[in-house]
């Protein structure tokens, strides 16, 4: 009975808060970088006296924020640039694996200096699965807030969408996108991939004087999530999600239900943004390791495990009624 004493590491219950912190930081970065860029251009041009009063106010705010960090913002603030699609962090260039794949298929070439920038995200995905979706994706941040809005609307008595589709559509979206890239000679997946859109549009909106078409598309996906299917775009249509799911299929770090501590309350199934089936040990390749099910589990029955496959279904939880009833029946039979 040593197995019954297994307990998940206590910090894992708080991972979901850490995840929200990470999502907020990424989003804040995407808002801050264009602002810093505009400030840098003002600095480089020594343009303070030419600015409009509102721009001068902006300049003053940015100067207050950055002056403790650097004396030469026009040069020093270049150390962090970009978005989650492709970025430059203190000399380390990182890119989305989907960008690398799109680049290969649009040009039908292998340009190694670029492909290598996708290597670190690739390795991380192979170990942790769709961790980008759950922990970094700036669109996921907005989509999860959108889910909360859905809950409020539902509470207010409005009708929201709960349709289900085939999860495999997104793999088709990925395949179609890559094929279209080959035939059109431009990276088509970039135009329908929400994290790339959000990063880009925030930059356009702040530093380029207005949003582009991507914002319309993104608003459409928010409405789709709201009115048609909860988290529908991520689950059914996102080409990046499809790629990460495939890469994370044999991920090493995955969630696991401790059957002896489970009481079959099914809160994990209710909280799962991707409508997976943690209660029946059905995590699969789509799980983002977001740890929401760990945070909500009332009996500490969710934990992380290191193994390349999911556990086979373990049956009813040992603290649940079904298991106890089954045991009693077995006892009766034995007697």
């Amino acid at each position: 009975m040593t197995a019954a004493k297994r307990k998940p590491f206590f910090l894992w219950r708080h991972l979901n808060k850490l995840r929200w912190l990470s999502l907020s930081l990424v989003f804040a970065m995407l808002v801050a970088l264009p602002c810093l860029h505009v400030y840098q251009t003002y600095r480089a041009a020594h343009a303070y006296d030419l600015l409009a009063p509102s721009e001068q106010r902006f300049y003053d705010i940015m100067e207050t924020l950055t002056s403790p960090l650097t004396d030469d913002p026009a040069e020093d603030l270049d150390v962090v640039k970009g978005s989650t699609w492709s970025g430059n962090f203190w000399g380390l260039k990182l890119s989305d694996p989907l960008a690398a794949l799109g680049h290969i298929s649009a040009g039908l070439t292998l340009y190694w200096p670029f492909l290598l920038t996708a290597l670190i995200p690739l390795v991380i995905t192979a170990i942790f699965g769709r961790i980008f979706c759950g922990w970094l994706c700036p669109a996921n941040f907005l989509y999860e807030l959108n889910t909360n809005l859905t809950a409020w609307l539902q509470w207010a008595g409005l009708k929201v969408g709960h349709r289900r589709f085939d999860r495999r559509i997104k793999y088709l979206v990925l395949a179609v996108g890559l094929l279209l890239s080959v035939f059109s000679g431009s990276i088509m997946v970039a135009a329908v991939y929400p994290p790339a859109i959000v990063g880009r549009e925030l930059y356009y909106g702040i530093a380029q004087g207005g949003f582009g078409v991507g914002m319309v598309f993104f608003a459409g996906t928010l409405l789709f999530d709201l009115l048609v299917a909860r988290r529908g775009f991520c689950r059914y249509l996102c080409p990046g999600g499809a790629l990460y799911s495939l890469l994370g299929r044999y991920r090493l770090v995955r969630l696991r239900r401790l059957v002896e501590a489970c009481n079959d309350c099914r809160k994990c199934n209710a909280v799962c943004e991707f409508e997976l089936d943690p209660w029946r040990d059905g995590f699969g390749q789509e799980c983002t390791n977001c740890a929401a099910c760990i945070a909500i589990c009332p009996t500490n029955a969710m934990t992380f495990d290191i193994r390349p496959f999911d556990h086979p279904e373990q049956g009813p939880g040992h603290l649940g009624q079904r298991y106890r009833r089954g045991r009693e029946e077995q006892m009766d039979e034995a007697v």
Partner: protein, 202 residues
């Protein structure tokens, strides 16, 4: 019964395919293609001469724009069809200073690091029927003064030392277009392809 199964299968496959194509169709509708690139739309320095190769290599990350000190790099935000989200420079609004930061930061081979003198963004042309010194409406020389490549790209005519002429070293950064005081901008940048012949003559 089998026919029904076939029908259902076809319907499901059709629905799947619609779902797969739908996002791309939406973006195609949202960003209508441009029939022709407008005059004075340049690619950033270091871009390949072949625009198809540039579009195939650009992932639309916006990094080149995000490091540009004069903020001259703009993006096809709402137009361009397959070229949507690719960068361009309109020297009439703000021109490139050939600082090279975009080439350094570009993660792909869309912008390759080259020295400023090999940037090959285009070639400047002067309309000699409008330029002030060329029509004897005064002395100007703003374009010659501002040129970052010095005498290699633009200089004064031998016969009349106030009339600017384009030389072979011009890479088309467009600073001359930006500073030109003439309201109709009698200096402009031709894309690199058309400019390979008849250098400096109009």
């Amino acid at each position: 019964m089998r026919r029904r199964g076939l029908l259902h299968g076809t319907a499901a496959a059709g629905a799947l395919l619609t779902g797969g194509v739908l996002p791309y169709a939406l973006t195609a509708i949202l960003a209508p293609g441009e029939a022709r690139p407008r005059r004075n739309h340049l690619r950033p320095p270091g871009a390949p001469r072949d625009d198809e190769a540039f579009v195939a290599a650009c992932i639309g990350c916006g990094l080149c724009g995000e490091v540009c000190p004069p903020r001259c790099i703009q993006f096809h935000r709402r137009d361009g069809g397959a070229r949507v989200n690719t960068p361009y420079i309109d020297p009439g609004q703000r021109a490139c200073t050939l600082c090279g930061k975009c080439m350094e930061t570009c993660p792909t081979d869309a912008l390759i690091r080259v020295p400023p003198a090999d940037a090959a963004m285009g070639l400047a042309r002067i309309d000699r029927t409008a330029c002030y010194p060329w029509v004897d409406r005064g002395i100007c020389g703003a374009c010659v003064t501002v040129c970052p490549l010095g005498g290699r790209a633009i200089g004064f005519d031998f016969a009349n030392i106030y009339r600017p002429v384009i030389r072979k070293g011009c890479v088309g950064c467009g600073l001359c277009v930006e500073v030109c005081p003439h309201p109709s901008k009698p200096i402009w940048i031709n894309p690199p392809k058309q400019s390979t012949n008849s250098v400096g003559e109009v």
